[in-house]
Symmetry: none
Subunit: 194 residues, 4 copies
DNA sequence: CATGAATGAGCGTTCATTCAT
DNA sequence: AATGAATGAACGCTCATTCAT
């Protein structure tokens, strides 16, 4: 029993790696095909075009991401555990799917001015879910007296920057990642928990 | 008396804008020339090639950045003021030179796997200076009893992520920036200051 | 009992229409297959290749044309009736098989420099038969004293141009066709009949 | 003193010949460039694209054609001389510019279903002028008592078919052209002049 | 009889770059 | 300082065709 479309799968694997390493415009369809051990036209047999292949990859990566975001805990003894969870989630993803994460971190920024682009659409969707989750967490933490009485939207904003910054840092491998999880969690705990 | 090379300046201005909007690979020399009101060969008269023009722009932008980083205060009544200063510096840059900042945020990530690239070199240099500055701040803050006794390198790491994340957020215009400065500063103060 | 090769027939029907509308080079095998509701390889099952399909269509169309040409009347009270007959034959064909006629009128001209091409071969064959028929008509018309004493080969030449020009005009739908038949017949009658 | 754009001119010359011989779709830009002794990109330097080159050629050819049509005599002792003139004009063009004429005869038919195409536009324009000229001729011929009392629009129609058929015949070199002029003129004279 | 998967060859087009002027 | 003309290399993509099933 093999995978149903072995060559298609090879194409996607090669494309993820090359797009991540060289960006969308910096990756040619010929290089993708060669790296996958197939010929160029096969890309167009399985996908509408180069953009279609890119979109396919991105949507697959985000589908998993969205799924995980939706399954974050909403009932925990301590509210801060949920903050820990969402920070940890981002680190997990960066370690489990380094290439997809790198791909998003490296190719999407250049597309954000194009509001209709997949990158923009998916990143906005992700941000919306993160903001919703964090807002509820912080509100509940304050209500319960577990968190300091901070300005909710602004603090959420800072946490989003931190969360996504960590993802980028991990993906781009910008520096030592050892202890990053604990450091981030501690930093936030000291800032939030009374 | 006007600028010495008016057309060269036009070229750089056009290139900054176009590189920022469409990325390096997404910007053609022809479009740059047209936007600058000159012809393509002039690019090669003033710069070695397309890469040289890009490098010129990046180095100019970073020269100013480095200069500001080097002039951050090292003596302040409260150490936390220095943390405020470096956070503020990044926001100031993003507002004063939005196109250069956007350019860096959007085109550099796709080049970071190439260790020899200007982007990589300059970003690493910037990070080194930020890390050095923050390390000394936090060390002094702890020594003076102003900051909690945190793990220095790890906390610096978190602060770098936060600082650069804010820069990106501002540049890419990802969301409302109102109150961001205060929110970030407050978040850090609560986490650091005892 | 239905047709023996229903899908083959569908292929031919689709090909006739598409070749007529878009020319040979402007029609892809994929579009033919899709229009016929089958897949591309079936074309190669039923025909040697794209050229073979085209040739098949052309030969079929011409077989009917040749047949009609061979059955033109050779004994009529008035010789001019035969001229009327051949003019009428061309108009009938253009109306009965508009797509085949259009196909020939639109795709063959671009192939006539290639003496070995089916188009050239079939068109030459048709012209030969028309010339033979008309030559005999005019000769007999003159002998009988029904026609003016015109130069036979040259007059035949003019009639061929007229006959085929009418076919083209009808097929390409270049203008109003109402009254064309009568006009052409009258024009010729006045010119030929004493 | 040479031509202002020698290589551009070579491109056009090569394109006229190749388009005429192989049709638009059957001619590749590479073959045009090679036949002109230049490289492919030069086509795109001088013209917008392959279509632009084709259009340029067609418009040039028709400009001359229109010019000649507009300069046909409108005052002649005998009206039939004007019929002779327009028949002769078409034969002259076919002999002076055989390649342009062949090009039009071979590539345009396949485009006539596309009402917006240059071919359609120019051919319709030409036909309009021919119809206008012939209509006036025949009307005047009848009024003067020089021509038989024929139905004007229908007779014009037949003459258009004949005129353009002759052009095609000449261009495509379909048969012996010797005596064609005299034959056509005689045929028409007998049919029209009382 | 019919298809899904795959390919070699080639196409129209663009790009960064050069060179004579 | 600046340009018009030109090119080598490559790119995204399509096409007719094949082959195992």
């Amino acid at each position: 029993m093999g995978s149903p479309h072995p060559k298609k799968h090879e194409l996607v694997r090669a494309a993820v790696r090359l797009f991540a390493e060289n960006g969308f415009d910096g990756t040619t369809t010929l290089r993708i095909a060669k790296a996958a051990g197939v010929t160029e036209p096969l890309i167009y047999y399985h996908f509408s075009n180069k953009d279609g292949l890119f979109t396919h990859i991105l949507e697959n990566a985000f589908a998993d991401y969205f799924n995980r975001l939706d399954n974050l805990p909403t009932q925990t003894p301590k509210v801060f555990e949920r903050i820990e969870a969402i920070i940890g989630l981002h680190m997990d993803i960066a370690m489990e799917k380094p290439e997809e994460t790198y791909l998003i971190a490296s190719t999407c920024p250049a597309r954000l001015k194009n509001g209709a682009h997949v990158c923009t659409r998916l990143l906005n969707e992700a941000r919306k879910r993160i903001v919703r989750y964090l807002s509820e967490c912080i509100k509940e933490g304050i209500d319960r007296g577990e968190f300091a009485k901070v300005n909710i939207p602004q603090t959420v904003n800072v946490l989003v920057v931190l969360t996504q910054g960590i993802l980028r840092q991990y993906a781009l491998g910008l520096d030592q990642r050892r202890g990053m999880r604990k450091a981030a969690v501690d930093f936030c705990r000291r800032s939030l928990v009374v």
